[in-house]
């Protein structure tokens, strides 16, 4: 990332609450304006994550999705409004993010994310935020971020529960495969479309994904590296588990066997991010 040279008077006004925080300040704000973040999925998690990152003044936000807005999205996917039903999600997402902050360069990527496209799509960005919340894309994002040496913010939601972590696996932090070496067999795990999702839940987890992204970019505090946060909304409680590198991990362990991207849809037994199925994120 290359910090922006100086702040304009409009930017000094816009980012005033950041500028008075010593942890951000002028240098941090210029760094944010010179940073780039790729958001995977313009759904429940991607909505608050991208909106807060745009409002915070991240200079370039890419958002990738291949779905169109459906009425069932609107209970939680705040990037999209009623009039957007039927539009490509990245179209309404880009409109929302640009209206929030004209400083931000928004790159709308209306593409299927798979083993053929991921490395090219990921390459221009400093950090990857995975808001897709499906197994094939999660393992794909995990592996592609590892091979490119990019940090990856992980979030997941189910009914009233959420999860959060930050992987920087090329630096030995452990990765999603260290946590879950293999995906569950197809049909054994319910999706939000089948089990439901409390609409505010992705707002909480997605906002924390943005929070961790900015902390990482500005080197603020203690990142969610080596830590796995579990949120239980019914109790309004958080718990933290240790997330360690698994020496037997096939990707980032001592004797890796995964050396390039694989066919994740075949491996997980199901297609990733099909337009009709990616709606529940």
């Amino acid at each position: 990332m290359v910090p922006a040279k100086s702040l304009t008077p409009d930017q000094v006004a816009r980012y005033a609450r950041h500028l008075i925080l010593p942890e951000v300040g002028g240098a941090g704000q210029r760094k944010l304006l010179g940073s780039s973040v790729l958001i995977l999925g313009a759904g429940g998690l991607g909505s608050p994550a991208s909106m807060y990152l745009a409002a915070a003044g991240v200079g370039k936000i890419g958002i990738v999705d291949f779905d169109v807005v459906d009425a069932s999205n609107l209970q939680r996917q705040l990037l999209h409004g009623h009039d957007d039903i039927g539009r490509p999600k990245v179209g309404s997402a880009a409109d929302t993010l640009r209206s929030l902050n004209p400083d931000v360069e928004v790159v709308a990527i209306n593409e299927h994310l798979n083993s053929e496209t991921a490395m090219r799509i990921f390459a221009p960005y400093d950090i990857i935020v995975d808001g897709t919340d499906n197994f094939p894309t999660r393992y794909l994002a995990n592996d592609a971020a590892h091979f490119l040496g990019k940090p990856l913010v992980h979030g997941s939601i189910f009914r009233f529960e959420g999860r959060l972590a930050l992987f920087d696996s090329a630096k030995g932090t452990g990765c999603y495969r260290c946590l879950f070496p293999e995906p569950p067999p197809p049909g054994s795990v319910q999706s939000c479309a089948e089990a439901g999702v409390f609409g505010v839940l992705p707002g909480i987890i997605g906002s924390m994904m943005a929070f961790e992204t900015i902390k990482y970019l500005l080197d603020i505090g203690r990142p969610m590296i080596g830590r796995y946060l579990l949120f239980e909304g019914e109790d309004m409680s958080f718990r933290e588990l240790k997330l360690r590198q698994n020496k037997a991990c096939p990707l980032c362990g001592e004797n890796p066997t995964v050396h390039s991207l694989i066919d994740y849809e075949a491996w997980c037994g199901t297609p990733a991010m099909e337009p009709s199925e990616a709606r529940a994120s």
């Binding site: 919340d133 197994f135 997941s156 009233f160 879950f180 293999e182 240790k242 990616a278 529940a280």
Partner: protein
């Protein structure tokens, strides 16, 4: 006695209970005790060889047992055993 924390996706097996106390000295017999009270957990946690499934984690307090002694790990009074399955809400499984 050691206490299991049951995650949302598996609470239909535990009659909605979020925690279940068991009498046990190691993780293997803690899982046996849980399954005896609420049948179905053993099949969810262990594969046909009796090993922990690759897509379900069990934490003893805040440590992943897979990276330690596994099912042989000793459990003690006041230990918390968390079942943490892989979840992904964003698509039809």
């Amino acid at each position: 006695m050691p206490q299991f924390r049951i995650p949302g996706p598996l609470r239909r097996l535990s009659d909605g209970q979020t925690t279940v106390d068991v009498e046990a000295t190691d993780l293997a017999n803690a899982i046996d005790a849980l399954d005896a009270r609420y049948p179905g957990f053993k099949d969810r946690l262990l594969d046909e060889n009796g090993e922990l499934r690759q897509f379900v984690n069990v934490y003893l307090n805040d440590e992943d047992v897979r990276l330690g002694a596994g099912l042989a790990v000793k459990v003690h009074e006041k230990d918390e055993i968390s079942i943490v399955p892989a979840v992904a809400g964003g698509r039809r499984a």
